[in-house]
């Protein structure tokens, strides 16, 4: 009989902190500068240099810890992780080992409609390495140390996830959280947010952990999902044949959609961790923690509940709005300036504004239409100055030109005629011109009603409010009975 397997997944998430300077030097952390222009003596590991801890990185790590309900160590220790690699200038990475700054904590994820708690083992501060570039010169490798020394927190979860879907859900949750906390830009393409996945299988119902493999450096949600799925099916095959999974580090190749062995446990480095004698224990006082707690921004889960309670929005809509901090901020700015129903704003943002940002591949944070212009547009619709159809055209023009809706309405004569007196006249004119058709209508040719509406709108050059036209037309045709 076939054994049914359960997959067990834990993630190590590497989050680049948004500090201006590096974790142990004063060099800038900006992305994309010319190679090796943002590496100072300390980053280059020159003889005699010493690291000095960036306090802002510590504050950000504490912020994360507090946001996931973790314990903040008041004397955490930096340790050296020793290994040779060309883009690791000192021959060791300064990291934390025995006493990390953040330990214990959890995040709730949505697993098949139910809340599931994913435990966070620890989060520690460390420095990023530089980059090796192998495809620039024919027989040589190049090294760019701009990234060397960029602060990271590595967030290690317990093996609490049971599917690639849960893993992605958890990863998205952290991705969203670090941007709400404003400690990471979340840019996965630039490597600001990446993860390693530990995957193992065990017989369903068992409490023991199977032998795991670690998939390194996954830098998109899609890759995380695909890599884990591949690994689950690969391990299932291995186990089904009665073989053992080999404990090893694997690499995911997105082009082939498969993982391949990088190094086995035997080949693994002995990192010879020991406390870094160049750095003192990181002393964190209660006052510091209290201060950070007081300045903590509203977290996504809390904002979700508030949006549902305060605005009476559906969970589905709220999930979309809070999926990006900038989007939910945008929403609240618009809501403050409109007179209409909040649901109407949510609909317009989700169906129109987000559609445009998808179409133009623009991140919600970079939407070129300001919340105040967008609220003017919403008000123009709800005041019936323009039709929904017109509004869509205007929004596209606003997106491209950066002009306010009023400018576009004025310039292009978009405003809607809702004045009943004016529409009365238009209706009278059309009915007079088509008196034969009116008779046919009265004799039962109902279809002609649409024709009259069309003619009236045409007469108004498209500006007549169709709802008012319909209303008045109905009355007129009744009156003449």
């Amino acid at each position: 009989m076939d054994i049914e397997y359960e997959s067990v997944i834990g993630l190590e998430v590497h989050v680049q902190l948004k500090t201006k300077s590096k974790i142990f030097s004063q060099a800038s952390t900006n992305f994309g500068a010319n190679p090796n222009t943002q590496a100072c003596a300390v980053d280059l590991g020159l003889p005699g240099v010493l690291p000095v801890l960036n306090k802002e990185a510590v504050r950000m790590a504490i912020t994360f810890g507090l946001a996931v309900g973790a314990r903040i160590e008041n004397n955490s220790i930096f340790a050296r992780k020793n290994y040779f690699y060309p883009d690791l200038p000192k021959g060791y990475q300064i990291s934390q080992y025995e006493i990390p700054i953040v330990s214990g904590g959890s995040l709730d994820i949505n697993a098949n409609g139910e809340l599931k708690k994913i435990r966070i083992t620890r989060a520690h501060l460390e420095e990023d390495a530089g980059k090796s570039i192998h495809d620039l010169y024919e027989n040589e490798s190049a090294i760019d140390l701009n990234r060397a020394g960029t602060p990271l927190i590595e967030i290690v979860s317990e093996p609490d996830m049971r599917s690639s879907k849960e893993a992605v859900e958890y990863l998205k949750k952290i991705h969203n959280l670090v941007r709400y906390l404003d400690i990471c830009d979340g840019n996965m393409q630039e490597g600001s947010f990446r993860c390693d996945a530990n995957v193992s299988l065990r017989a369903k119902g068992s409490n023991e952990l199977g032998i795991r493999t670690e998939i390194k450096n996954l830098n998109s949600f899609k890759f995380v999902e695909q890599a884990i799925n591949f690994e689950i099916s690969r391990q299932t095959q291995v186990l089904s044949k009665g073989n053992n999974v080999v404990q090893e580090t694997r690499l995911y190749d997105p082009n082939k959609n498969q993982t391949r062995s990088m190094r086995s446990k035997e080949e693994a480095n002995d990192y010879r961790y020991f406390p870094d004698p160049d750095l003192l224990p990181v002393e964190i006082t209660k006052e510091t923690i209290t201060k950070i707690m007081e300045n903590m921004p509203e977290l996504p889960d809390k904002r979700k509940t508030r949006f549902m309670d305060e605005y009476g929005l559906e969970e589905y809509d709220v999930d979309i709005l809070i999926s990006e901090k900038s989007l939910s901020n945008y929403f609240e700015k618009v809501v403050k300036k409109v007179t209409c129903d909040v649901k109407f704003v949510a609909n317009w943002m989700i169906t129109e504004l987000l559609a445009l940002s998808n179409k133009h591949s623009i991140l919600p944070a970079n939407i070129p239409v300001s919340p105040s212009d967008f609220s003017c547009l919403i008000n123009a619709i709800s005041d019936k100055r323009i039709s929904s159809k017109q509004a869509k055209t205007i929004l596209e023009k606003m997106w491209k030109s950066g002009k306010s809706p009023d400018e576009i309405i004025d310039e292009e004569g978009f405003s809607q005629i809702s004045d009943e007196g004016q529409i009365n006249k238009l209706v009278d004119n059309v009915l007079k011109n088509h008196y034969k058709s009116v008779e046919e209508y009265k004799n039962g040719k109902d279809k002609l009603f649409g024709f009259f509406v069309g003619e009236i709108i045409k007469e108004s050059k498209g500006k007549a409010n169709p709802q008012i036209v319909t209303q008045i037309l109905k009355e007129k045709l009744k009156d003449d009975n």
């Binding site: 003889p47 005699g48 010879r272």
Partner: protein, 485 residues
Amino acid sequence: MENKTLTELTVELKSKKISSSELTKYYLEKIKKYDPRLNSFITLTEEFALKKASQIDTEISKGNFKPLSGIPIAQKDIFCTKGVRTTCGSKMLSNFISPYDATVIRKLNEAGTVMIGKTNMDEFAMGSSNETSYFGTVKNPWDLERVPGGSSGGSAACVSAGLAPCATGTDTGGSIRQPASLTGICGLKPTYGRVSRYGMIAFASSLDQAGVFAKTAEDCALLLTHMSGYDEQDSTSSRESVPNYLQECKAEFKGMKIGIPKEFLEGLDHDVHLIFDEAVKQLEKVNCKIVEISLKSSKLGVSAYQVVAPAECSSNLSRYDGVRFGHRTKDAENIIELYKKSRSEGFGDEVKRRILVGTYALSAGYYDAYYIKAQKIRSLISREFKEAFDKVDLIIGPTTPDVAFKLGEKLNDPIAMYLSDIFTVSTNLAGLPAISIPMGMKKNLPTGLQIIGGHFQESKLLSLAHEFQKMTDWHLQKPDNQKWI
């Protein structure tokens, strides 16, 4: 001129009795004449020195006098000096020109000193005889057949031979005090954290401390005042305020309670013991109360040191991989070969030995047995010192068990070599300040008296040293240079 102390020289410079240029030329010429036999310098910075000296002279003529204006100084080649080759006594860095100044160098420059050259040393400060230098052995000015001690052997030898009025050094397990003792001069190792380590090439970061060599305790005090202080580039440097050590060491001496650990007298050469007893008698004359104490764990000092120092060094020296600076092998097929060959070619035997020992001590499965245990011994030693300083003001003993040994005598016997630091390592493990001053001669060779103080008690130990030097003239004796020409 060479018998003048720094304090005397600064008076003459200030009163324009002598110019910095004259003084600098005087020492440079002496170096050229005598150093070929002594080998105490790796790099002479003549052009740099003469330019700086003439700038200082201009400043002095304008009435702008800094505390050490115009004083020539020799810098141990472990301190990074901008634009000047900094080798650390190694082939690995024989082509390394630092783009920045160490904090010690910057501070001494700002105080007005004139660097005349970079001194020879054991490779990466690993050694007690100066025989591990890639740039050749340094000789002891008192007997050219003997070692000057190490690792700061070049600095000690040049001051002892009168080729420089003062020099910097570094002390990880005795590297200032032991050579000071063997060459008959004063060598001060301050409290860990007193002087910034920024720009001082790391050997064992938790033990390394910069200090000075000079002829008198007063001169050490003067130099220390202008090297010390918190440095924001060194997280382990102390915020403890810096007193005027010169003034404090010259303040009226009112007697002290001094402890002699019985462990420091074990395994001691008989003659050195007699010389030490004589020194103790001198101290008793100036109202010092001598008591016997015990520092039981200090016997474990060398063992603990030989785990902690190599462990840290194995990590500190990983950066010398041939990738960005320093020696790179000429032929390597791949990156692993580049590492292996560059490091095999660039490092000497003693450095390799310590990297191996340290790597082993930190390895999985051995870490607890070696590194953690050594750290526990370290805490024990610190505690014993602390308890001792509850009872006494200072602790004294001979700096080394015997006088300078012959060249080559201990080179192939690492254990014997390591034991020459037996009285000095425990102060590094505890981070305490200590000084070695000349206390007498065994035949024609100097011996040193070590004075150890509690944390940041430099003034106290300098004060005792100064008092001793008021009563004795061992520090004024000098080797006969004429013999070697």
